[in-house]
């Protein structure tokens, strides 16, 4: 039979510790990023899948064209960070609710690692993306590059 710990006995006299209240800011972040993500994701889907010739237009050239514009670079970086932290924080709260002890630590570590790696990789891709790198094998370059051999 499992018994649960008693809630804190006589409540800790409201200590004025001015440390960041992560639970509060996490809760606020979920609301704010949620609203932003609705706009960003549906805007993304609308532009990619509906405007122009629709889903058929999505290929390497289409993505390269979008990322040539700082507007879409910022849009995608925002979407990447907001969505990954939003999802990661959601997983964190679920793990905190249902896991205890060592498994909780391990799972929190895995979630944090996944979020961090994806954010770093994604941001690097978005910022440093160059469809026609100089000095590359011409046969590997897409056809719209000046140096392409296709």
């Amino acid at each position: 039979m499992t018994t649960i710990d008693a809630p804190r006995t006589p409540h800790t006299p409201v200590t004025k510790n001015r440390r960041v209240n992560w639970e509060k800011w996490g809760w606020l972040y979920m609301r704010a990023s949620g609203i932003l993500l609705v706009v960003l994701i549906f805007g993304h889907l609308f532009v990619n899948l509906f405007l122009g010739t629709g889903v058929k237009q999505v290929d390497f050239a289409f993505v390269a064209g979008k990322w040539a514009s700082p507007f879409w670079q910022v849009w995608d970086v925002l979407m990447l960070w907001l969505a990954l932290i939003h999802g990661g924080n959601g997983m964190r709260t679920i793990i905190n609710d249902y896991a205890h002890g060592r498994p909780r630590q391990v799972m929190l570590g895995l979630v944090f690692a996944a979020v961090a790696i994806l954010i770093v990789l994604g941001t690097l891709t978005l910022v440093a993306f160059d469809p026609c790198p100089t000095g590359a094998d011409p046969s590997l370059l897409p056809s719209f590059c000046p140096a392409s051999s296709k």
Partner: protein, 267 residues
């Protein structure tokens, strides 16, 4: 002949006397002196449509098995002693009519979840009352008025809903966060904090908001609405919790200013 007519008239109910029916109750029993684990036991009882689950429990205890253990005090939905899980839902046994349940199936009765089980339908309520005490559920006021503390109708309406709590623990023990983490204050404590935070006569709002702005406070609420569904008094528990969250973000309860127009008596 005339005698028969009189009898029929005095019965007074269309369709003759009230029909009794037999219903099966399956109760989760646990005797800490004998059992290692709780087990289910069934009882057949004859009941009337006017009977409640509490009456069935009484009938079992008085006529079939005197060892059945449960709490009840007023038996009329005010004291909050007999909250239990009936067919998987937290209810008061004294407010649940058996005919309103599906009587073609057995009725499952067990203790509320998330609190330490002591015997049969009785749990240790102490953790629940400890978090209730922690939010300081009493008026904190520095002034000593000669007469009553005056409050307008609008000011009273703000916290009217949360004054209805009877501390039965149906909400807190229906909360999935509380089931896995007994450190969480739970809906009932937050409801009772709400009752004073939003009371214009009280001066301790800031203290209570600080207490609930804790790691185990309102931010653990996942808005699953289990508490609102479980409340036998119909309190909108989830709404109250959200109002406390908003008050913490705002930094104050944001009470309506007094709109009282005081006119001298006899003017």
């Amino acid at each position: 002949m005339s005698e028969v007519a009189v009898v029929e008239e005095s019965a007074g109910v269309p369709g003759g006397p009230i029909q009794a029916f037999t219903v099966t109750l399956i109760i989760r029993r646990f005797d800490p002196e004998v059992d290692a684990e709780p087990h289910w036991q069934d009882f057949d009882v004859e009941m009337y449509p006017t009977d409640r689950v509490l009456d069935a429990l009484h009938k079992i205890k008085w006529e079939q098995d005197g060892s059945l253990t449960f709490r009840r005090s007023c038996a009329h939905g005010i004291c909050g002693s007999d909250a239990m899980r009936i067919n998987g839902r937290n209810r008061l046994a004294c407010k649940t009519l058996i005919k309103d349940l599906d009587i073609s199936q057995p009725i499952y009765v067990e203790a509320i979840k998330g609190l330490p089980l002591e015997k049969d339908l009785i749990v240790d309520m102490e953790p629940f009352f400890e978090s209730y005490r922690a939010i300081q559920p009493f008026l904190i006021a520095s002034d000593k008025p000669d007469k009553e503390r005056i409050q307008s109708v609008a000011q009273r309406a703000v916290f009217d809903d949360t004054t209805k709590c009877i501390l039965c623990a149906a909400c807190t023990s229906s909360c999935p966060v509380f089931w896995t983490d007994g450190q969480y204050f739970g809906p009932a404590a937050i409801v009772n904090a709400h009752r004073f935070i939003f009371d214009s006569r009280d001066e301790g709002s800031q203290v209570r908001l600080d207490i609930l702005n804790d790691k185990e406070g309102v931010w653990r609420c996942r808005t699953t609405f289990n508490c609102s569904e479980a409340c036998p008094r119909g309190i909108e528990v989830t709404k109250a919790i959200s109002e406390v969250k908003a008050a913490i973000l705002r930094g104050n309860p944001g009470l309506p200013s007094s709109d009282l127009v005081l006119t001298p008596v006899g003017a």
